[in-house]
Amino acid sequence: MDSGPATSRAIEVRHHWREFCVAVAVWVAATSVICVLIWILADIAIRGLAEVNFGFLIEDVQDAGRVGGIGPIILSTGLILLVCLVVAVPLSFGTAIALTERLDKESWFARNVRRSLDVLAGVPSIVFGLFGNAFFAIALGLGYSILSGGLTLACMVLPILIRTSEQAIRAVPAEYRYAAAALGMKRTTILFRVVLPVAMPALAAGVVLSIGRALAETAALIFTSGYVARTPESLLDSGRSLSVHIYDLAMNVPGGGSKAYATACVLVVLLLAINAATALLLRLAGLHNRSTTGGSL
């Protein structure tokens, strides 16, 4: 360049400065995010683990949760999840199959189903709570019950479960279908004998992921499954989920902090396990979540 050595030197210094500042900013942003995450997890672990033992997991809730354990809570949570999955899984798999019917192009039908699912995915959880309360609890007369809560959660996890199932089905190489079709198999047979078995790990990953979402949910449950902390006797009984329990202890029960932390600890451990299971299943399915690219420049 026709600028003299002095100016080119100055430019270089300026470049170095800029590189340095941007690099520092990016590193600071990335590390601070990770530090906060570690801070939260460590906080939960340190304050929570002290209270967690086997007794805590099975004992009844006493004195509004200040003493005792979370046995009934775990049971209710499990039942809510069960209801949620029993409804959501068939609905999602069916929808996913319908959406992947034509692999080449998006049909009018598929496009609109997907659009409405996009909207459903964006619905605030408190709105699910309102809806569940008005529809399941009152209009259908299920009251504050595990059934209402589970059904509300089913509506909530539907979009994510459908999306993951769809991806799982699409990820099955088209050659498998062609090969099967060339053998004269019917579409139904191809689907159940060839496509779904191959897609199974990825489908399972989607289910596990949805369980994670459902476990984390609070707002949609307060006014559907309610907050009765007793052991539920049937699906029509109200039952309190882990997350609602944490909320209640933290906000409404003076002195409930340590048990809230213990419950949070249980919940986070469950979610970590779910996270690991999803990753494992996806790896089994050969669907790496693209975490190996990137690097330097």
């Binding site: 690099a23 139904t188 949910e217 609070t218 970590l272």
Partner: protein, 281 residues
């Protein structure tokens, strides 16, 4: 092929059910909010003297303002950190670290909002309280909300950046452009649509979040005068009052739910339309 046909019919029927849920939600929100809308009309939610549902005063404005303040504040926090994270994993981090960073961000995305709320209540609020007040105020809520929606920005920006043509980056490098220049001039402008989509999606998440804000914002219905004043968002209001609300009051709560639903849906549809146009050309 009878079974093929029944398969098509059954799966389509299931798809229709899935798609109809959203309509059902809108329907029920409308049905429940009709009494309030009919008796009060839209304007009273903005013109009433205050929020005293028991004495028939239904001014939602302070809560709408609090919702908007916390959500937009959350974006102000989440956007730079999220985009920074995405740039970090794509251009600054050693490969190993990049993989770990992505995993941790996904983990952050999976932490339940009550746990964020609990942490905010016990750890963050006392720190914020040193600026005055109880620590349960809009600032605390905004910070935690920002952390919660950050993974959305980070993951979507990451995807958008990783999808950029390698040739652009190599071409820019071959022209002697430094790393920061490539990021600033080529990468961020090139990925702006995806990054923008991530930010908008994060905004809908923030608008829709209830628990963390409920636990942290202080829940006093008043026009916020600063970030350090307590406030109550629409979501939190529903969560607090639906339990005991009767008749007209309950209906007003559904109106506020309807508002949230409409705002979020419009944003989502806008984004999905925008993405549709991109896919077509």
């Amino acid at each position: 092929m009878r079974s093929d046909q029944s398969l098509t019919i059954i799966t389509r029927a299931l798809a229709v059910i899935s798609a109809a849920i959203v309509l059902l939600i809108v329907l029920f929100l409308l049905r429940e909010s009709t009494p309030a809308l009919r008796q009060l009309g839209w304007s009273r939610f903005f013109t009433d003297a205050s929020w005293h549902p028991l004495s028939g005063q239904f001014n939602l404005t302070p809560m709408i303002v609090a919702t908007l303040v916390t959500s937009s504040g959350a974006i102000v926090i989440a956007a730079p950190l999220g985009i920074g994270s995405a740039v970090f994993v794509n251009f600054y981090a050693p490969r190993r670290l990049a993989a770990w960073h992505r995993r941790l961000i996904e983990l952050l995305a999976g932490i339940p909002s009550v746990v964020f709320g609990l942490w905010g209540l016990v750890v963050l609020a006392p720190i914020i309280a040193t600026f005055g007040g109880s620590g349960q105020n809009l600032l605390t809520a905004t910070i935690v909300l920002g952390l919660m929606v950050l993974p959305t920005v980070a993951l979507l920006s990451d995807t958008a950046i990783a999808a950029l043509p390698r040739e652009w980056i190599q071409g820019a490098a071959a022209l002697g452009m430094g790393r920061s220049a490539i990021v600033g001039w080529i990468v961020l402008p090139g990925a702006r649509r995806g990054i923008g989509g991530g930010i908008i999606l994060a905004l809908t998440r923030a608008l829709g979040e209830t628990m963390a804000v409920l636990m942290l914002a202080g829940n006093i219905v008043e026009m916020p005068s600063s970030l350090l004043s307590p406030g109550r968002t629409l979501n939190a209001n529903i969560a607090l009052e639906l339990g005991y609300a009767s008749a007209g009051h309950r209906s007003v709560l559904f109106v506020s739910g309807l508002m949230l639903m409409l705002v979020v849906s419009v944003i989502v549809l806008f984004v999905s339309r925008r993405e549709g146009t991109r896919r077509d050309g």
